[in-house]
């Protein structure tokens, strides 16, 4: 049997803030869900199943929170699935929801992802001192900074490229009404003057810590018929171990393999020319050039040149993170789904002030763990 076609019918997200003290965890999810259902012009009655994703349960101190959220997310009486694939989880959750439609199980599925980081402290949760281990770890920044250094050494990228990405993403974020950080006046100089946190990563080259949620309503061909939709052209997920002898931590094979499968299944032979916009998971600004190479938009070592040339700005050859990306809002578990949802918004023409003109094909990308979990999708304005 041929795979059933699937499409995004609606996308919703919260206003992302460092502390959303006005809502519960359920209320946070619901804000995104209500917007997604409204965007899709549907109600809970139309939803067959719910898939929820989030990063570690320790962040909110609730074990398998989808259970206590059943009523808030409209899952009661329905199938509910919980996905957890580290930082890539928001993307994986969207992909699992897509597979429920591709496989013919359901007509309409609601995918939800959230993180309410203000309930605890992510640095604490990610750096819990496990017995027998060296307490050298310093959260995600401490983990990724050495690999950024490796990238700079390997590619010969000039040091200001990370700052250029930060300026672009934060300025894009200023065009996004939901973004956590909205800094229209940020400059290369101000980024370079910001504190060095995990050398070589500066404060302004780092994502914020956000409370937020994202929801996507997906439907089958019947459900999408006759309405604006973002058709799913391909999905991909790949995993490799955190560490192994000879592992390339700068340009991981799992990311390369996922991208190769993605382009193949979407019928894309020249991603740089054929993709109109990409929402890539860039929690530290240097990951933009790194992922440009990993995804095969450019050859290895060339990513920083595309960034430096300004071609990844809105209006450039390949706008990256027109929404402002993870650099502007980072509700961890939801960050991947935001990338997938923003990609869909672009091809649906619903990205508002950060719309890329004429976007017909867009990519959503997420990664997690030690750059070892990858999930991606390609969405298009036309049926695949």
């Amino acid at each position: 049997m041929a795979k059933q076609r699937a499409a995004v019918l609606g996308v919703g997200q919260t206003h992302h803030r460092s502390k959303r003290l006005d809502v519960t965890i359920g209320g946070l999810c619901r804000e995104a869900i209500d917007r997604a259902l409204a965007d899709a012009e549907l109600t809970f009655d139309d939803i067959d199943a719910v898939v929820l994703g989030k990063a570690p349960d320790l962040f909110e101190g609730v074990m398998m929170p989808e259970l206590m959220l059943a009523d808030a997310i409209g899952a009661t009486g329905k199938p509910l699935l919980r996905v957890h694939t580290a930082g890539s989880v928001g993307g994986s959750t969207a992909n699992v929801a897509a597979s429920l439609i591709h496989g013919g199980e359901h007509s309409r599925v609601l995918a939800v992802a959230f993180e309410k980081q203000s309930e605890s402290n992510a640095m604490w949760a990610l750096s819990i001192a496990v017995p027998f281990h060296m307490p050298v770890g310093a959260g995600a920044g401490g983990y990724f900074a050495p690999h950024v250094r490796s990238y700079i050494r390997r590619s010969g990228a000039p040091k200001h490229v990370g700052a250029l990405v930060a300026v672009k993403d934060r300025r894009n974020g200023a065009k996004n009404q939901y973004a956590h950080l909205r800094q229209p006046d940020i400059t290369l100089e101000s980024v370079q003057a910001s504190a060095m946190l995990w050398d070589p990563i500066r404060y302004d080259e780092t994502c914020p810590s956000s409370d937020g949620a994202c929801a996507i309503v997906l439907g089958d061909e019947n459900a999408a018929q006759g309405r604006t939709a973002a058709w799913i052209h391909a999905t991909a997920m790949r995993t490799e171990p955190t560490t192994f002898a000879g592992r390339d931590q700068v340009n991981p094979q799992a990311g390369k393999d996922a991208a190769a499968a993605l382009w193949r299944d979407a019928g894309i032979t020249d991603p740089l020319s054929q993709v109109d916009a990409a929402e890539l998971y860039v929690p530290f600004s240097w990951f933009e050039p790194m992922w440009l190479e990993n995804l095969g938009f450019v050859e290895e070592g060339q990513g920083w040149k595309l960034t430096e040339s300004g071609e990844t700005e809105i209006g450039g050859r390949l706008p990256i993170n027109p929404s402002g990306g993870v650099m502007s809002s980072n509700p961890i578990g939801a960050s991947g789904m935001l990338r997938f949802g923003e990609a869909a918004m672009q091809v649906m023409g619903r990205a508002g002030e950060h719309q890329v003109d004429g976007a017909r094909i867009a990519v959503g990308h997420a990664y997690g763990g030690g750059s070892q979990y990858f999930s991606m999708w390609v969405v298009g304005a036309e049926k695949p």
Partner: protein, 346 residues
Amino acid sequence: MSIDVSIVSFAQAPNVRETHGTTNGVEMLVPTMKEALDRIGLSKKDIGFWCSGSSDYLAGRAFSFIAAVDAIGAFPPIHESHVEADAAWALYEAWVKIRTGEVDTALVYGFGKSSAGQLRRVLALQLDPYTVGPLWPDAVSIAGLQARLGLDAGLWTERDMAEVAARSRAANPAAQIYEQVTVDELLGRPYVADPLRKHDCAPITDGAAVVVLATADRAKDLCEQPARITSIQHRVESASLGARDLTASPSTVAAAKAANADGIALAELHAPFTHQEILLRQALGLGDEVVLNPSGGPLAGNPMFAAGLARIGEAATRLKPGERALAHATSGPALQQNLVCVLEAD
């Protein structure tokens, strides 16, 4: 025409009270995956999709599932996903994946080292964190409240519960709990949480389980008697304990109805408490003719996050030609979420 999927292999780590192994399950998973693959002559390269179920809170650390992929030897990279739930839900995700036509094989695994923490207290973190969780009601106490509701309503008796325990404990010499014991003897034992006695509660178990799935077409070539999955359905109930009907399991009823779970000869029920087995049996309409938990079920060994998957594997391997089996998995406080899988021998 949709794609039929079959179970072609099942293996599980020994169910034990406490392993020396790590909470990432590697020591249990390496031999168990090997056994499951060797049985059908496959290697990791032949697996199109991998999916696992486990819990960070069982291990006491964030991202505890990540190290488990080392057990696979996951390089070159693999097509993989993970559910923070019993691996029965990972099997569901893998079953869907095969039905998309993207892959034709999948390996599903679940693991848990319950002995690392205080399980009944850890599970209190599944309750509403605003109005219930701060009281730290533990999983055994919640089950006890449910058990007495049924006792008071005349849906079951303590003797009925002890009968379930006696049968489960005597079912499987290879299980963690194995003893020949009379119902009267069990009823003479003290309560641990009145109305529950020790035998009413599943033991603490460290364990892991692995199931390999393949399209029905491929399954024929891989094993002599694949068990075809005719349907899988699952439902969740409200999070509000007081608002739920705790003695009827409406989510199980709805899942079974959607799965056309009739004509069942054998059932493996994921009931970690004796009264829950009776409750589920009533909800599923399983009569005396149905062979129930021949493996001993969770009351004889309950590896968290693997026990539901193990029910599916146990049912698949015990299924006789021409018969239908039902495997059930549960998750959450007092049977909040339930999955029903119907199997047929080809």
